[in-house]
Symmetry: C2
Subunit: 327 residues, 2 copies
């Protein structure tokens, strides 16, 4: 799986961080899913190796402006660029009416259909793109959710012993089986169905699970889901000292809170995001390094502080690494 | 007067051009007025030498998304940054309800008042910041307006002959009079009222007029207003060949149309903006130079093709020049 951050700032954008948006896709795949759509998400997409034509679904965690104000512009631009494929949007039930009002006010007729799913109605996982998607309710000032993505496609490997036992030597046929293409065996058999192909394939590993959380002041709500997750993306809006000053009514997590949680559930990989604009990349005043230092004090797993347009890659072994994705 | 372009692309943003937004202010002044507010206008402001705290008014030309989708985010950010001063918004009558619905949906309570003015009700000029503002109806797919700004503040010069005749020699007192500060004359008179100061000042020039037009396929609608204007900012979405291909129903101007108009009314300064994203700054395909070449064929005055974050300066003599404003 690959995660590409389109925005990592809380509330307002900064010169280096946009408000929230995150692209998720199977490694090197063209189709992708967008989680949250703050203002200027479409501007970030212009600088990323992803296309609005291949966007499969949008999942909105909650209806604060820094998570959804970019939606009308993104939808209108996709239409102006010629998109015709239907688009699924999962979000709070008030969302479709606002989108409808906004598009109508500005005389936008989309050239494609929108399929809305009320996030609160998602009691069973739904298949989106290459993932099974389910939700976890969070604790914030408004109804807010985490989205859990489980791979439905896992790379397969050839059952070489069975192939050789059946007299099928290494060659073009092996590649065709792996790629899901029609293969003709030496004995004339034509393998062109999923079931006939499956007989010569072995599963490589259990599917990976990634949780992408919205704003939340109670990480423990993710305790059950996180046990099966390779990666959690969670807000760390403040360091603990600032969180204490701001007060509990903001209902955000500190770096300490989420790091302690991740440590307690033995989460292998954690990406923090949604940083208060007061934390700068350097210079005077608060810096983003304070959040990183605080998190590392309490969490020993693989930790990244998300950067805009950075690509994070979860490999087959479940190891997370960072790549540059600037388009 | 100074004009700072925050977006110069039509319909969708590109890597180098945002959708429409334009800041207007008295030269070197802190207060400013925003004309149109496409998505990510607030992001452009982060890179410009202007502050949301000093924004005096927003004028929306029409309700297409590329001219107004940035409004909710900008208003919310101004509040998050602590703005308390009331803000005037002039725009189509449907605008305040959409802003209200959007802010309510996303639980934004602004820390300042919004004063809405229905653009269609503006039958007489209103004073905004350092300008008298009036409107001119245009021709587009939806109700659309041009905003005309006339300076109410014009730099004054000292009546040196009168000062010398009254025995007041050149010195600190002269500067105090010019700056509107309290001045004490050699004979003991204290000059601290506008009327006593006025006796020693001369007006320098008639006020300048700038017209900033929204989308429009009929430049002749501006014929009367343009006669007294030093500068017109107008869309040139296409070159004529592309305009012909796109068809009249888009209701935009070509470079040829607006250049011919500006030539016919002997307009001294013209800035073109709102370019179709198909016109790139260079490389293969259509380039922005095609628009410039077409305009120059038909217009002999001072011409600029607007660039994002470029500052255009109309000096006291009415001469327009370009400055770099990147913050």
């Amino acid at each position: 799986m690959e995660l590409l951050f389109l925005g990592t700032s809380a509330g307002t954008p900064t010169k280096s961080r946009n408000v929230t948006g995150l692209a998720l896709r199977k490694v090197d795949a063209k189709p992708w899913i967008l989680v949250d759509c703050g203002e200027a998400t479409q501007h970030r997409i212009l600088r990323a190796p992803i296309s609005l034509h291949r966007l499969q679904a949008i999942c909105i965690t909650h209806l604060h402006g820094d998570h959804c104000y970019g939606l009308p512009g993104l939808l209108a631009s996709a239409s102006l660029m010629g998109r015709t494929a239907p688009l699924t949007i999962i979000g709070p039930k008030e969302l479709p009416e606002w989108v409808r009002i906004t598009l109508q006010l500005t005389q936008v007729t989309l050239g494609y259909e929108l399929d809305f799913i009320d996030v609160a109605s998602l009691t069973a996982p739904v298949a989106l793109d290459d993932f099974l998607v389910s939700t976890i309710p969070l604790s914030h000032r408004v109804a807010c959710f985490a989205y859990q993505f489980v791979e439905t496609y896992v790379l397969r490997k050839l059952d070489k012993a069975k192939l050789l036992a059946d007299g099928i030597e290494s060659g073009e046929v092996w590649g065709q089986l792996l790629r899901g293409e029609t293969a003709t065996f030496p004995d004339g058999r034509i393998i062109n169905s999923e079931s006939s192909r499956e007989a010569y394939l072995l599963p490589t590993r259990p599917p990976h699970t990634v949780i992408i959380a919205g704003d939340n002041d109670n990480p423990a709500l993710l305790a059950h889901s996180a046990q099966s997750a390779q990666l959690l993306v969670h807000e760390a809006t403040y360091t603990q000292d600032i969180a204490d000053k701001v007060g509990a009514e903001a209902q955000h997590s500190s770096a300490k809170m989420i790091a302690e949680f991740a440590q307690a559930v033995a989460l292998p990989n954690l990406i923090l995001t949604h940083f208060s604009p007061r934390y700068r990349n350097g210079g005077k005043g608060h810096t983003i390094h304070e959040i990183e230092q605080e998190a590392r004090q309490h969490y020993g797993g693989t930790l990244f502080l998300a950067q805009d347009l950075a690509l994070y890659y979860l490999d087959n072994s479940g190891k997370l690494s960072k790549r540059d994705a600037r388009g």
